[in-house]
């Protein structure tokens, strides 16, 4: 068998895009210097092929002759090693090192898979295909070239780098698997030995859990098999069971001690239950904290579902694949909700270290933050765009503490027909798997995601890193939704963390199941039964199909080219029985599996830091100008325009886009929330927004959480959502919770979630936590641990009855009045004003729940009555930033005077002596301009609507601070002096420049 290669070079005159990307990447991570790069991409083709057949493959499929020219040879031929003569120029005179990059064997190579099938469709006898990227690096020796490749071109957790010619004879992957049932000898093991079994097997089981398992098997009178132990480890993992937060916690703070039996149930779930009780027969929750996503009512014919997941650890090691499979995974959650919801929107929120971090400051074993950012964005882009699901909402937050442990949150919204909201499994139903094949990818993802990262993670955990294949998932989705509408299955769930083990284990929890692992279609031979069972290969869904529906289900799948396989049956045995080639390899009690885990009791303490007075380097003068502060805040990466990222996402597919992420006169202003109209024949809209402010966690986790909820809700309200029907999601990302103070801050945040949820009747309907987010490495001062700031992402899902009533944040017309709605408190801790001035201390922003709710309702009344031309929420950078953003988004100037807002709109606050001094440090002008007090809005009202607007607001604090002008300046005065005066052009440039393409 011959291994052929078809290389494709850009035709003369056409840009060498890969080379440019490589150079840009190299610049970002600080390698390379002044070198020249030429690139090509190629296909390795294995089969009994003649050279004519290979030429035909190139001509008919692989090459676009208008822009590319092929070079064909047998792998290793000199013609494939040298850069073709016509591609040489003045820059390519010094010697070149050829670097070739290939996916490691077994790693998803989507392009190769498609090429293989398509070439076979052309009748060519090709058996394997793999892609290769080639770079000729001029001016680098082999060692430097390899370093360059490692830093800028390849990711060695999934790719192999070859310098010089390929010495490859075959692409064949896989090996013979000699079946051998493995029993783990643990009945007689001492505790130390049990620890070792857990560690060596990457099981992440604690000693107490191992002792419980040992006792269980002692009662059974036998040792467990490897696959039984793996199943228990997956099911009991933090990732799958959330054992800490659903466990016992003894919590102490300044108010006393509280003992939780199940922390989440007694705080956040309980809040939802209370809201539902309070709403009575107006309860609009359908399914909460139960299914793969939360479900609430939406339209006549359909409910809406939403779920947000994290995919932090894989993204730290392989940002593209991590983000890619993160989004793919949460979309499968939507597909696995009820009898299958149709995904209609995605959200993506990322936390990174600053992208301009000096390369030498990046700790060993961590990727440069810009590389992580680029990879994560590309991963979300390529998966979301290919799925045809609009990515409508997102946020980016930068803090150096995320350097080794970035956070990647992916969310998915779905539409679920009302009669498809619930599932059941009956004895005799077939266990059917569809979609992608099973490979060795992602083994131990669930247990891996429950431990902290180290500088070694990249080498020990690469099995847990995967690349997604969106089209496989799209095909599975098409089939799933068609099968749902034809009633071909009784239950469905996704294969996520834990693979078949979790999916079948969950679906069969109440009943029992018999699974034949040898029936699972494999990507390549050689997987053991245990690997098949726990593989986290992507793009797979599991169904419970009544036997009489199987033929139709099989036919449907076949008609769309989707593989479907019967793995076994659900049966009323209460046991999970696993077979390979007819031999029993596992027999577990479902009860032990799901209820046998020993309860964990953890300690949690919290003591809020004492308030400290903000320390100003220079006292503010009476006539202080704040132009520079405003420009600096606009340019800080948390505030700066994210247009370069947003434009890479398809945010319009499905054709229901109403309020886009970018709005205004030039389609480039920052929208507060996205609005979509998912049913094209209806006027009803869905609003998606989020809130998050990890900076406040350094002051008080309670108010951090409360502020995040306020931000998410007010973003929804700002575009027109009804505050009486907003559903919330929580995503907790915290450090190691075996430190009582870390767990304590989490419990405190959960208590805030409970309080605000009840106060506003905004139920939490789904959530997820990711714990132990830390990065360990050997620094110059010895072992060092970087802990992420406690990070709570709040996602809000709002609704509007008629999308035509929505408003955007850009100023609309000169002469209109500008109102500040809501009171401002002298609470500036964690504000961006402090950040750009280097100020510490201050009071943390609180949420006054009753006043906030009244404000939300009043704002909604005014918007719904058509009295508002624009509305922008006040968040990072406070009033000053909101004014600037609204102005440059609308392309109109602003004249404002803050005297009335200072006189009546600065709340005195009830503070003790220390707090009072902290509250007075900045003075009223800086406070009204830059405080990030919650529950506030900037609203534009036409002169003839002002009186009706004031009536609609009722008792809610509102101040006419100025007017829209047809000029090009934002001018703000206070006490008769100008405190801000800047042109729209300079404000916008400051905001757009930092993260521009």
């Amino acid at each position: 068998m011959t291994l052929w290669e078809v290389d494709l070079h850009p035709r003369p005159g056409f840009v060498d895009r890969r080379a440019l990307d490589a150079l840009a990447q190299a610049r970002d991570v600080g390698v390379g210097g002044t070198i020249s790069v030429r690139s090509a991409h190629g296909y390795l083709l294995e089969g009994e092929l003649t050279s004519e057949q290979v030429e035909s493959a190139a001509r008919r499929l692989l090459c676009d002759p208008v822009v590319e020219q092929p070079v064909i040879g047998r792998s290793g031929d000199e013609t494939l090693v040298a850069l073709p003569a016509e591609r040489h120029d003045a820059e390519t005179t010094n010697g070149a090192t050829l670097v070739q990059i290939l996916p490691k064997p077994g790693v998803t190579d989507a392009v190769a898979e498609t090429a293989l099938r398509s070439l076979q469709d052309l009748g060519l006898p090709i058996e394997e295909v793999r892609t290769v990227r080639k770079y000729w690096l001029f001016g680098l020796g082999e060692a430097d070239a390899r370093r360059f490749a490692t830093k800028a071109l390849a990711n060695e957790s999934i790719e192999q780098i070859v310098t010089g010619p390929l010495a490859l004879e075959s692409l064949h992957v896989g090996s013979h698997y000699p079946f051998n049932k493995v029993v783990v000898r643990m009945l007689g093991a001492n505790p130390e030995r049990l620890d070792r079994i857990s560690r060596d097997g990457q099981l992440s089981l604690t000693r107490e859990e191992m002792l419980t398992i040992q006792a269980h098997y002692r009662d059974a009178g036998r040792d467990p098999t490897d696959v039984e132990l793996e199943t228990i480890a997956q099911t009991w993992s933090e990732h799958c069971s959330h054992k800490t937060l659903k466990g016992r916690i003894r919590y102490r703070d300044e108010r006393g001690e509280r003992l939780f039996d199940n922390m989440l149930r007694e705080t956040i779930f309980e809040a939802t239950q209370q809201v539902r009780r309070d709403l009575g027969d107006k309860d609009w929750c359908v399914s909460v904290f139960k299914d793969n996503a939360g479900v609430v009512t939406f339209a006549e014919e359909a409910h809406v579902t939403i779920k947000v997941e994290t995919h932090n650890r894989p993204s730290a090691i392989e940002p593209y694949g991590g983000a890619n499979t993160g989004l793919g995974g949460v979309i499968r959650d939507t597909l696995g909700t009820g009898l299958g919801a149709k995904p209609i929107a995605s959200t993506d929120v990322f936390c990174f270290a600053p992208p301009d971090m000096a390369p030498e400051d990046v700790p060993p074993g961590a990727l440069h933050p810009r590389r992580i950012m680029n990879g994560v964005v590309a991963g979300v882009r390529d998966y979301g765009n290919r799925m045809g699901i609009p990515t409508v909402n997102g946020a980016l937050f930068f803090d150096r503490r995320y350097v080794g442990n970035p956070l990647v949150f992916c969310g998915s919204v779905g539409l679920l027909p009302k009669d498809k909201a619930f599932k059941s499994v009956e004895a005799g139903d077939l266990i059917v798997a569809i979609g992608g094949r099973t490979g060795r990818d992602g083994i131990h993802g669930a247990t891996f995601s429950s431990v902290e990262l180290t500088s070694e993670s990249e080498t020990v955990s690469s099995g847990a890193v995967q690349i997604g294949h969106a089209v496989t998932e799209k095909m599975a989705m098409d089939v799933l939704l068609a099968a749902r509408d034809r009633g071909l299955f009784r239950a469905v769930t996704d294969c996520g963390a834990g693979g078949f083990s979790s999916a079948v284990g969950e679906m069969g929890e109440e009943l029992g199941a018999e699974v034949h692992l040898d029936r699972a279609p494999l990507k390549y031979a050689g997987l053991s039964y245990a690997e098949i069972w726990i593989s986290e290969a992507q793009e797979r869904m599991v169904f419970a199909v009544p036997p009489e529906k199987w033929e139709e289900m099989r036919g449907l799948c076949e008609s769309e080219g989707v593989e479907a396989t019967v793995l076994g049956t659900f049966e009323a045995t209460g046991r999970l029985r696993l077979f390979y080639n007819g031999a029993e390899v596992g027999d577990l009690s479902m009860k032990f599996l799901h209820d046998g885990r020993p309860p964990i009791v953890r300690e949690a303490t919290y003591s809020p830091p004492a308030p400290s007075t903000p320390t100003l380097k220079h006292p503010l003068s009476k006539s202080e100008r704040f132009d520079a502060d405003l420009l600096a805040i606009l340019a800080s990466p948390n505030v700066a325009s994210k247009e370069s990222i947003i434009r890479q996402y398809d945010h319009e597919v499905l054709a229901g886009s109403v309020i886009k992420p970018l709005v205004g006169a030039h389609n480039d202003g920052p929208s507060d929330a996205a609005v979509i109209r998912p049913i094209l024949s209806s006027r009803r809209g869905l609003v998606v927004a989020c809130g998050m402010n990890p900076r406040l966690g350094d002051f008080d986790a309670y108010w951090m959480a409360a502020s995040g909820i306020d931000e998410a809700v007010r973003n929804c309200v700002a575009v027109g959502a009804d505050p009486n029907k907003i559903a919330l999601l929580d995503n907790f990302c915290w450090g190691r919770i075996d430190r009582p103070e870390t767990l304590g801050s989490l419990v405190r945040a959960a208590l805030a979630c409970q309080d605000l949820s009840v106060a506003w009747k905004t139920p939490f309907i789904s959530g997820k936590d990711s714990l132990n987010n830390e990065f360990r490495y050997d620094g110059s001062d010895g072992p060092t641990t970087l802990v992420i700031p406690p990070t709570l992402l709040i996602t809000a899902l709002g609704q509007v009855e008629n999308v035509a009533r929505c408003v955007t944040m850009d100023l609309k017309k000169p002469g209109n009045a500008i109102y500040l709605v809501g009171r401002t408190w002298p609470e500036t801790a964690g504000s961006h004003f402090h950040l750009v001035r280097g100020i510490d201390g201050g009071l943390v922003p609180q949420v006054r729940t009753a006043e906030a709710l009244a404000t939300f309702q009043a704002v909604h009344r005014a918007i719904d009555a058509g009295l508002v031309r624009s509305c922008h929420d006040l968040s990072e950078g406070g009033l000053a930033v909101a004014l600037a953003e609204s102005a440059f988004a609308g392309g109109f100037g602003v004249e404002a005077d803050l005297d009335e807002a200072i006189a009546r709109g600065l709340a005195p606050g009830e503070y003790d002596a220390d707090q009072k001094s902290a509250s007075e440090a900045l003075g009223p002008v800086a406070t009204i301009l830059f405080a990030e007090s919650n529950s506030r809005f900037l609203m534009e009202v036409a002169p003839d609507k002002e009186s009706a607007f004031r009536d609609a607001l009722g008792d809610v604090a509102c101040f006419r601070i100025g007017a829209v002008t047809d000029g090009s300046q934002v001018t703000v005065r206070a006490n008769g002096e100008t405190c801000v005066d800047a042109s729209l052009a300079e404000l916008k440039e400051a905001w757009q420049k930092p993260l521009r393409f």
Partner: protein
Amino acid sequence: MARPRVLILRAPGTNCDEETAYAFEVAGAESRRMHVLELLRSPASLHEYQILCIPGGFSFGDDIGAGKVFAGRLQQHLGEELARFRDADKLTLGICNGFQTLIKSGMLTTDKGSPLVEDETPDATLFWNDSGRYEDRWVNVASCGDRCVFLRGIERMYLPIAHAEGKFVARDERTLEELESSGRLALRYVDERCDPKSDVCYPCNPNGSQSNVAGLCDESGRIFGLMPHPERHLDPTNHPRWTRGEAGETGDGLALFVNAVRYFG
């Protein structure tokens, strides 16, 4: 008037089929979405329809090249049927990935109305955007000449593009001139001057297309492909500045579908 029947042909990875079907329905047609595997099983069923539309998406993942694999399937299995379809005075539309598919099959640049056979080379292609990346943004387009059936009476439209490989490139200068002089470069990116023949730079021309080409038709004017998405601008609230009062009563994209339907009226 009988409602013309539209075949919305989807492949693995097609993802704009539902809203495109909806657009034709709103315009007065009857849409049927069909998987390409189903059509390959009975190619003659194509002739039960008056309009064939290949919608947007990432057919076969755009692996190898946008639309390339889908184009290969058409070449391999449907060549004769597609030529018969055009010659029966019927309409073929490709939007975004559908345009990429049509152009790479050669259907838009030969005069035969069918995909090219093995040894021919298409005269033009859609290549990577000059920006090197996928972009979603709104653009102004204007029609140029009256050859294209789908654009009759349409002067300009404001529509979103969302693609990575949309740069129109002809094989050489001569080819470009021939396509121009025969009125086939039917839709152009324009700036506020709205002159289809003037120079336009990024981002008004979002991808660096030669001659600002946003859409191309075949010699008959009945086969048409375009990169912008008319089906994403049916409703006034799709317009990015509808809250500023800039949207019309219906979205600009609807007229194109109405033209297709009226052709059979």
